[in-house]
Amino acid sequence: MIAEGALHAGCQFFAGYPITPASGVYKAMIEQLPQRNGVAISAPDEISALAYCVGASGRGIKAMTASSGPGWSLMIETVQYALMTELPVVIALVQRLGPSTGGATQNGQADILFTEFCTSGGYTIPMFAPSTPQECYEVTTIAFKWAELLRTPVIILSDKEVGMMSEDVDFIKLVSAPVSYRKEFSTKNGTEHHTYDFQNLEDVPLFSPVGGDYKVTMTGSAHDKKGTLQKNSRETIDVLLHLQAKIDAHAEEMSIIRIDNEEQANTLVVSFGITARTAREAIRRARLAGKKVRNANVISLFPVPGTALQAAAAGVKRIVVAEENLTGQYRSVIRSLFPDQEIVGVNAVGTLITPKNIMDALL
């Protein structure tokens, strides 16, 4: 469904390298993309796969790759390049059990911090987590939208349980984001083309492809608005501030949390990915048992949807964050949002969190 979403969003370039549990996306794109006037190719490693995509993006093409923890480790150098050069690309990361090669067919939700904070410099990479095949489709279209509009890499953080499960999908009910394209530069604007031009820090530079009518100067090194290598001129620092500002300025728009409300709730359950489904089942059972509980399924993990999360937690005494990792990674990220509320974790490694695990943590 990630592949279907990508095709709907206008993805025309995919480069892949085999890895369980992400190979399904690779295979689907190899089968589907050439029929839809796109290129899907096999790379000799994950470094090449993402670099091919970023190169294609530089030529003005919407591009995506897919991988899992071990392959993602190799892509980190290149995702930083995409971030610095402001080239849109979507990476579907289907998590498995780590660390290292870990377990290829075992689930994990433990690459959240590793993925989000992979940049030297610490810039926010938008990240969306689906919990169902329908959401895989929807989230992929959302990922392309923001990648294109903000000229940034975007991560789809799926997991083995979501990615390798077969399930009925009602295609008529699929939801998608509007198909968006990066805004292109034109001399009609009456300005000279600079590769990284912006007025306000949060503005997104107008794009021109390599091979287009305007000279493009791409660089992964610190640069001014023209793309000229600089050390620490005021303009170069502004470019660095701009990389974060353009994301921050759209944080509220990117925020997606699905709330199952209960006005009198004592407990709020926060979860994402496969665990969000388990949480919904736990809440169904808990309510049958008379408990007052509210549910928040976080789709947009980053930028952290702080306002929406705080609103969701209004009035509850306890916040339960359920996630399949050892130390409560997302809990550690959102803890500071709730200085006056108890926040507890339900965690597991190498095994699914069950509805009972979550129910046991409710007030």
């Binding site: 050439p34 290129v39 091919y52 190169g55 093409i61 499960m165 493009v216 290598l229 919904r280």
Partner: protein, 442 residues
Amino acid sequence: MEETLQHHTYTKDNAVFPFCKGCGHHHYVNHLDEALFALNIDPKNVCIVSDIGCIGILDSLFATPHTFHTTHGRSTAFATGIELADGILRNSKLKTIVVIGDGGATIGLLHLVNAALMNVDVTVILANNFLYGMTGGQHSQFSPLEFVTPTTPAGNIVPPIDICSIMKSCGATYIKQAVATDKNLGSIIADAVNHPGFAMVEVLELCTEWAVPFNKFDGKTMNEKLRHSNDGGVPQRKDFATLYKEKVLGNLKKTIDDTVTPAYTSALNGSRRIVLAGTAGEKVQLASFLYMKSAIASGLHATQKNDNPVTQGSGFSLSELCVSNDEILFTGIDQPDAVIIASADGLKEVLANGTLSRCVAETIIIADQTLPEFECAGKISRLPLRALCTGSRAALSALAALNVVKGWISQDALWEMIDGKFKDKSGSFHRDIEALMPFIKT
């Protein structure tokens, strides 16, 4: 006196070279400019993809072509992406030129190998000065034997990469070696850029800062000792973009059609969770898949999850099914309604992964009768699955027989799926199921 550029068509006017006095990179830049000048290419149709190191900052000297200053060693991979997009999805207008040093060629060797194998229309001009000049003259994997550098004070004892031979073995169609001072370097580069398909030009240079002071190599000895005759590409073949457009683009007609129409009905209320366990290659996961599709055809929701050892074709094969008239939320099986164990591999796995320990008194267990005794809370039917159905029909026959007894999903839907899949061989399943059905304890 500062050395400046000879041509001004592609490079910046009066640009000051950032290179050390006497460095071969001066010749390199001038000859690249000269080559583009000779080819008379519109600079908007040129993309220079530069790497890291002294030669990597060359992009800043070019005023008019597009430039892509990339990460260490990866320049060829980015260039490959640009070329694939340009050659297949755009109008093949770009001349994509990679500017890389021997350090970049080492760390990114696989990118060069794959670009040559694919025969992408990219030109690589490798400035080989045998060491890492920018970072203090450390030796590289291109350093010749006995080469003295700060990291090989006793002389290099490891033979160097012969990039021309590697490129040849990868089917590169244009390979040339030159020394930076060669007068005809400009025309060699022009030939390479003009060449349709992958082209490699290895330019030999001596680093004036780190190589010259410690080694006896000079221009003469470099010509004698380092220049070799391993250049010359393999016969011309079609480049990747051309082949892709001919053979792949629009030519794959295979479509994934997993569309199921819910033409049947089921009276199931609530969910049923089933575990199938058997041996790889014995159609355990296929049985599960057909049941899942039949459940969907019955108007139900269904999920299927498979597991197997990493090698896929040996050991156990496991599948977990959930069918429900309501949306399926939790996708695990905390309490199975049925477990089918078709082989010893399957039994070993359901014992190991805790499936049997999660069974309750109502759980229906169907196990091959030859399996050893095992402890389980459910109602166990030990049937001659393998003797009657053979291994490859055991799981599906047992599952279908169970469904006849319990009626969880439409049996008509299941028959349609089985008959559609196995066609004239589906009669065996009908016989198996008739035989098994009376003996299932529920």
